[in-house]
Symmetry: C2
Subunit: 387 residues, 2 copies
């Protein structure tokens, strides 16, 4: 196998729940040795959704903790803190997502760790960051969705505030943290210097919204809700009912509209002065939408999707996620990797989300049982394992 | 100034609109020399929203193209292709987001470029990837939102399919591509080997949904819409009306509920058997919501937010994005960087979305006029600039 990007990189991982574990999952996929430090009760995600899970590995936990080792240490016990410090000295990266100040109180703040390992890359993930007036405030994904403006961007004009229906800020923050850490490792490779990274969910959310926050900062452009109507404001870049199911069209330019009209068997739309050009179509958007809906009625969304694909019209049936995940197209995309639960049950986990030709990501090791690797990791430190 | 992570890294950037330019914007922020290759009419984002923009730099264009140089070349002209090949030989990274096959037809595919520069990192961004049955299909953000399942995750149970109201897939794809490129540059630094990266918006969308796609793959857990009710299913992790405006609460655990009850002046909720523990509160969610709404009515969302912050209750008023962007907390977060339009008008652009203590990101150079750097870049090649 070829050399992995993060081969030989040791990550000491004090994170729990979602943003931090996603960050270190991406590092593990690139070949890093991620040592997950857990309390005796473990990451709460081990039991996520309230049901009992075999080996304390819930599906949510499994999906972002495969490829890691688990070590149980008591961060309130002096001897265990001493073990942690020895681990820090042997690590390249520390990641934590406690509330700001907690690692310092534990005696594991950046300056302490840096003294143990001068070229350490230390990444703190928090809701609002390590400074500023909101620093101490508690935060979870939906608090940041609310604070950042994200809840006011989706839905029909005038509709109530609505969050994105899954913890998108946690996820984006995790990937941004993995990116920040990798960038810092590249810089360390080139300069020999370590780094302290302050990753905040609120900052990450703003960055995630760059397509609307950017124009707001650069030109005072205020975002507005527009339902499923696309970024282009073209009335044929929207979602429509069909005879069975919904379909989204991505028809913006004049030649695309001609393709759509032909595919619908409605070439007459091209000669209708109401729809003659992009501006006319926007001015007669309601009438055009009615025409498109009428034309789509005889077939199902999946039938139209296939027909439109043949005609070069950008279109997709609206799928639910479980259906989308089993689309045959994905089979060649290395998106899903084989893994298993500790009891041997086969599962799939997501890969890095892209394909690297010379550095293909192999399946990660299975998600660890709580404390499964405590003895082996401490033995590597040269300590007695029978403490 | 300290050495930047991507100092001395040259990126030849053939991307347009959004996902690709976001990827190379992140590289530019880390110190890369990004050369944006444009046609004589330029990236369509220069004119985005249909209005005339001074120097063909719309707010949308400015916000993701600051820090880059612009070179106009005609990729259908043999002499210009020859210039591009000479640029490739002097570049570390090539990024493109044409439809699969276009770069090959232009004579600029990976194998050709790799022959010119063996350790090249070449990143292709597309809707569905470079292989698979959907490879040739056109795609824009909302098509991928539809295909991936994303449109079925937000909103109240039973509500119509609704996209995330801004091009979230483009953005996530761009950041993931920047991460993939940086990871490959780290691997190149360690091994000397280049890379070919195949980044697809559909794959990226699945990865962005890892919090729901992961449990679906790992345990058959089907996601469901639940309005603003949080990931925890706790009825006090939700959004509520107040006397003026909405507020989101992130109250999940028992001690958090006690803090909330006290902050509301409703300690009686703690002794009410309907709300005694987490399970009881879920079973009596409607009654609890009514109690919370009644308790919140006397004050505004902003007043409650301040009061809850003092009491350690996770809460945020629902803000719109322009309001969120000027929150005083952000002033210390290095989120916004000073830039200007070509005519000197001061603007702000977003930084990388996190703070690196030893590698602070300076303001990028202003977004370029179309072709502003053609002469200087070609001069670096040793060519006549008067062609």
């Amino acid at each position: 196998m070829s050399t992995r990007a993060l081969e030989g990189v040791r990550v000491l991982d004090f994170t729990h729940v979602l943003s931090g574990p996603i960050a270190t999952y991406h590092l593990a996929l690139q070949g890093a040795d991620v040592i997950k430090v857990e309390s005796a009760t473990g990451d709460t995600m081990r039991h996520y959704s309230g049901h009992a899970h075999a080996d304390a590995v819930s599906p949510s936990f499994a999906s972002v903790n495969a490829g890691k080792r688990s070590v149980v240490l008591d961060l309130k016990k002096a001897s265990d803190i001493e073990s942690v410090r020895r681990l820090v000295a042997q690590s390249d990266v520390v990641v934590e997502n406690f509330r700001p100040g907690v690692m310092e109180r534990l005696g594991l703040g950046y300056e302490v760790c840096r003294a143990l390992r001068p070229d350490l890359v230390y990444c703190s993930i928090s809701g609002f960051g390590q400074n500023g007036s909101l620093r101490g405030n508690p935060a979870i994904d939906q608090i940041i969705q609310s604070m950042s403006g994200l809840m006011t961007l989706s839905g029909e004009p005038g509709s109530p505030s609505m969050r994105v229906g899954f913890p998108i800020v946690d996820t984006f923050t995790g990937v941004l943290a993995a990116h920040a850490i990798t960038t810092s490792l590249l810089r360390r490779e080139r300069t020999g210097e370590g780094e302290y990274l302050d990753v905040a969910m609120l900052d990450a959310a703003m960055n995630m919204m760059i397509s609307v926050a950017g124009p707001c900062l650069a030109g005072g452009v205020r975002p507005r809700k527009q339902g499923n109507l696309g970024y282009s404001n073209s009335p044929t870049a929207d979602t429509f009912p069909t005879g069975d199911g919904e379909i989204t069209l991505g028809v913006v330019r004049q030649e695309q509209f001609a393709q759509l009209a032909a595919a619908l068997g409605r070439e007459d739309l091209m000669t209708d002065p109401r729809f003659a050009d992009r501006l006319a179509r926007q001015q007669n958007a309601v009438a055009l939408r009615d025409e498109v809906i009428a034309a789509l009625a005889p077939r199902s969304a999946l039938e139209w999707e296939a027909l439109f694909a043949d005609r070069g019209v950008a279109a997709s049936a609206v799928r639910d996620l479980p259906t989308a995940l089993v689309h045959p197209h994905l089979d060649g995309r290395a998106l899903k990797l084989a893994s298993e639960l500790p009891d041997g049950t086969p599962i799939q986990v997501l890969g890095p989300g892209y394909i690297a030709m010379h550095n293909a990501v192999p399946p990660p090791t299975r998600p660890p049982r709580l404390g499964e690797h405590t003895a082996e990791v401490l033995a590597q430190l040269g300590e007695s394992v029978g403490r």
